[in-house]
């Protein structure tokens, strides 16, 4: 081993430069019983980075509910969560962030995010059937935001469209807190026959280890370490840490992977995302309690003269590590030959628990696999936390100091044109939402995307949700609302919420105020997921989402994005959100309150930046969702749309625009009129009801004991509120549909 030559070079200072703490360096020396060489130190550095080890979050993540009736693989057990959906099928799904690369190089950053999350799904043997994404940008009026947004959208589109999996849903939110550090979270959902999944495991001494897919280059080296540090002024100089994606290779890899699994010759496989070969070899070996010898010089490379450690840490995309059963070498090779993909045996499974990395006949690293990984030797920290100073500002919020504007029509038009509320058509028209011919939402707009599950009568509903402004105001309640809103969206299609994947985007965990947000958000998520019986199947933590501005750390809003799936037993009963015809009755289910806290109206129209999270009652929320599912099952509503950003008025407007109808309603004098129309208190759903449905509907809702009110009725196209003409739906539609496009083209 060339340890002696390099051992003199490796010092605490080297460790620091690789992002390791002094105590971590000491721990590595204890594990190895010697000072690591540079390659070994690099291995520990990436494997113990936040991105791979979850060292600052795992203590709290473990408190989230993981049990559920349909769980097949729990959080952390596999590359993605796995839930049984009946008919012999299972759903693999996961969400992941690609924030830091996207902030530096939006096109490739976003594209490789899409690639990575899809590999997590098909590496389990599941064919991806749908994608979603959750995006956060800064002020849309800034040129930098427009540049980032154009790049991210094109990156997601070019990769996902060519890969051939429909992008069926998503969310986009603008706030200046994301001006520098945008958030790009991508989710993929796949289907696999139960029992035909493949594990990320390596076992069986003598079994061959293959690297398949793209050749290995110098891109993305130390990307995982990069993702675990702050963005700073010189971050653009980290460009080589951003990977480059090739959706064509990924498409071939998908088909070849599913074919090779079908040969029955695969022991285990794992995609190479963060930390490349070292991550896949160590995690698979640790899981299978075996060792591995890897000959790095056998790895097909894109560049000449790559060092061993560079090959080991490269994050080149579209690669997988496959451990095959001995004797199946030719069959494995034949599949990848068919698809013109590299497939090279680079090593084999050994006894013991050490990973041996060889380069040109020399051993360049010798590390125990289990010591590198989460659940093994990777450090676990519990960080200090304290209530942030800004919470005092929120406590001072006094709604009675906010005047009710004299002209609420102006507010209505303002909100319809606001980028956070206006149609995201400029974005989603660039995504292929229909390839696969299962997206039922194309011609049936609904609160969540619904796709048909082939080989069954079921539909799979899916959504991503998080109003980070609520989370910032109150992390516990705000995060519980994110779960509740996701569940509400699924319930409004008639689906039963099933399971959750999360993407936790926060600032620096070493900042006690940020960690306070994190801890409370997790607690809120846990409470809501327990109530909705939607276990958390996994996901991703992204810390260090903040910018250093004038020497001061400015974190983004805490943004725990919730990805949720739900099941429609009979997809023919899927409910839609649009008003069907004029003259139908409009009802509001759930409790109204005199609340404008954290609303887009309060924040953007009145420019009140600090206010309390909207009113939220977990039990009432659960009850109203149960009610809407029952009403849909009994065919007692004609449309269902939840009240969320922009409040009741926007909810009504969206149902009206989608159905090219209008509405005439009366407000309740017990509430401020602005709160009634634009407040965002939770647990409310707008439904339209036909004459035929009316009696049974009223009876069933009354029996539930929940608050509800008759708002008025649908019209041919005009909007009337308390007998005041608010204009025509087609005029609002023009504004709503074109607001973002006109900003982007400005």
């Amino acid at each position: 081993m060339n340890n002696t030559a390099e051992a003199g070079v490796v010092t605490l200072e080297t460790a620091r430069k690789l992002g390791l703490l002094p105590e971590e360096f000491e721990k590595i020396r204890q594990i190895l019983g010697r000072t690591p060489n540079f390659t070994e130190l690099s291995i520990f550095s990436v494997m113990w980075s936040e991105h791979c080890s979850y060292k600052n979050s795992i203590t709290w993540l473990k408190t989230l509910p993981k049990e559920g009736p349909h769980m097949l693989a729990k959080a952390g057990e596999e590359n993605a969560g796995l839930v049984a959906i009946g008919d012999g099928l299972a759903c693999a799904f996961k969400i992941e962030s690609h924030n830091h690369p996207s902030a530096i190089e939006p096109y490739q950053g976003a594209a490789t995010g899409v690639g990575g999350i899809n590999r997590d799904i098909f590496t389990m043997g599941a064919r991806p059937i749908a994608q979603l994404n959750s995006l956060r940008f800064g002020s849309i009026d800034s040129d930098r935001t427009k540049w980032l947004m154009k790049g991210v959208v094109k990156g997601i589109g070019d990769y996902g469209n060519a890969f051939g999996v429909p992008t069926v849903g998503g969310e986009v939110f603008f706030d200046e807190c994301y001006n520098v550090n945008i958030l790009v979270n991508a989710m993929s959902v796949g289907i696999v026959e139960t029992g035909k999944t493949v594990s990320a495991i390596s076992e069986g001494v003598g079994n061959p280890v293959f690297i398949v897919g793209s050749a290995t280059g110098k891109d993305g080296i130390h990307g995982a370490t990069f993702a675990s540090g702050d963005l700073h002024d010189d971050s653009h100089e980290d460009l080589p840490a951003v990977q480059v994606g090739d959706p064509f290779q990924e498409k071939l890899l998908l088909e070849a992977t599913l074919e090779v699994i079908a040969t029955g010759g695969v022991v285990g496989m794992q995609d190479m995302g963060a930390a490349g070969i070292i991550c896949s070899t160590s995690e698979m070996s640790a899981k299978g309690k075996h060792g591995m010898v890897i000959y790095l010089d056998k790895v097909p490379t894109r560049q000449k003269n790559m060092e061993g450690w560079e090959i080991l840490l490269s994050e080149s995309q579209e690669r997988m590590l496959v451990v095959a059963k001995k004797g199946f070498e030719e069959q494995v090779q034949a599949v990848f030959d068919k698809w013109d993909l590299n497939c090279t045996q680079i090593g084999e499974v050994t006894s013991g628990d050490h990973l041996h990395f060889m380069m040109n006949g020399e051993k360049i690293a010798d590390v125990p696999a289990n010591e590198l990984v989460l659940g093994g030797g990777a450090p676990i920290y519990t960080r200090e936390y304290k209530e942030p100073a800004y919470v005092q500002q929120i406590k001072k919020y006094n709604p009675s100091s906010v005047p009710v504007p004299s002209d609420l029509k102006e507010v209505a038009k303002f909100l319809a044109a606001h980028p956070n509320i206006a149609s995201k058509r400029w974005i989603y028209n660039q995504y292929d939402s229909m390839v696969g011919t299962i997206n039922m939402s194309t011609n049936r707009p609904a609160d969540a995307a619904v796709v048909a599950v082939r080989g069954s009568a079921k539909g799979l509903a899916m959504t991503v949700d998080c109003n980070a402004r609520y989370v910032n105001a109150d992390p516990f309640t705000g995060c519980a609302i994110a779960v509740a809103e996701a569940a509400r969206n699924i319930s409004c299609t008639g689906g039963v919420p099933s399971a959750v994947t999360n993407c936790l985007n926060f600032g620096n965990p070493y900042n006690p105020e940020v960690y306070w947000q994190f801890v409370n958000a997790i607690k809120g998520m846990g409470a809501a997921c327990t109530r909705f019986e939607t276990p958390v199947t996994g996901g991703n933590v992204s810390f260090y989402n903040q910018s250093v501005i004038n020497g001061e750390e400015v974190p983004v809003f805490p943004t725990p994005t919730i990805g949720m799936i739900g099941i429609l037993e009979d997809r023919k009963k899927m409910m839609t959100l649009h008003f069907k015809e004029a003259g139908q009755h409009i009802f509001l289910l759930g409790k109204s309150t005199d609340d404008i806290g954290c609303s887009e109206y309060l924040y953007s129209y009145h420019k009140v930046k600090y206010s309390t999270a909207p009113a939220f009652d977990l039990e009432e929320e659960f009850a109203v969702q149960k009610l809407i599912r029952e009403l849909i099952a009994m065919n007692l509503v004609s449309s269902a749309h939840d009240v969320s950003d922009g409040g009741l008025f926007i909810s009504l407007l969206e149902s009206a625009m989608a159905g090219k109808k209008g509405f005439a309603i009366s407000t309740d004098e017990d509430y401020r009129k602005d709160a009634f129309l634009f407040g965002e208190s939770q647990g409310r759903i707008v439904v339209s009801v036909s004459d035929d449905q009316l009696d049974s509907f009223t009876e069933m809702v009354a029996e539930s004991g929940l608050e509800f009110m008759n708002l008025g009725e649908t019209t041919e196209g005009d909007i009337t509120i308390d007998e005041e003409n608010f204009g025509s739906v087609s005029d609002y539609s023009m504004v709503y549909e074109n607001a973002i496009a006109s900003k982007m083209n400005a």
Binding site: D340, Q430, V435
Partner: protein, 230 residues
Amino acid sequence: MKFGVVVFPGSNCDRDMQYVLGTVMKQQVEMLWHKEHSLRGCDFIVLPGGFSYGDYLRSGAIARFSPIMQEVMEFADKGGFVLGICNGFQILTEAHLLPGVLMHNDSRQFICKNIYMRAETDESLVTSKLNLGQVVQVPIAHGEGKFFADDATLLSLRENNQVLFRYCDAAGNLSDAANPNGATDHIAGICNKGRNVFGMMPHPERAADPVLGNTDGRLILDSILNMVEM
């Protein structure tokens, strides 16, 4: 009827086509791998949508050199029926089985949405179940879908009644607003002079399964079944 759906590396509408023709329409379907040298006795060949060879270089430019394309060209020369959808249309123009080219959309953006198109001829197999001027709603999904041809080619397309479909609004009117990609003369689909090779950018297979809530595309695919009577 036996359909053959060609699978190029990067095709991604091949399985959709297989599902619609086979499972929904109950026809026999063979999947033809691009490295094969036989069309396996298929009656009708479909080049599906997708990104063959990643669409690197230029959409369809590499796929035309695939081994199976030699067979497809010979089949077409002998009067065999071939339909190219989206990337398949691009491949057919690259292979010179159809005139014109498909260029970047005017917006320079990928566009995926429902559009309307109007049947422009009643003398072709793929429009045989449509009335002349009938409007159907079918999705598009492409970045390079702007049909372009020089004036002489356009004149010849019109004179020989080779335009299959034009983009229009719901009422059937032609306008710039209803032309999603800037296609010359609003052209969405054409056939060759021999009327046996067809290309269109819109995806009829995405509007053929009742579960999707739009079956306008079925009219086009069902038209093909009339071949048995021709």
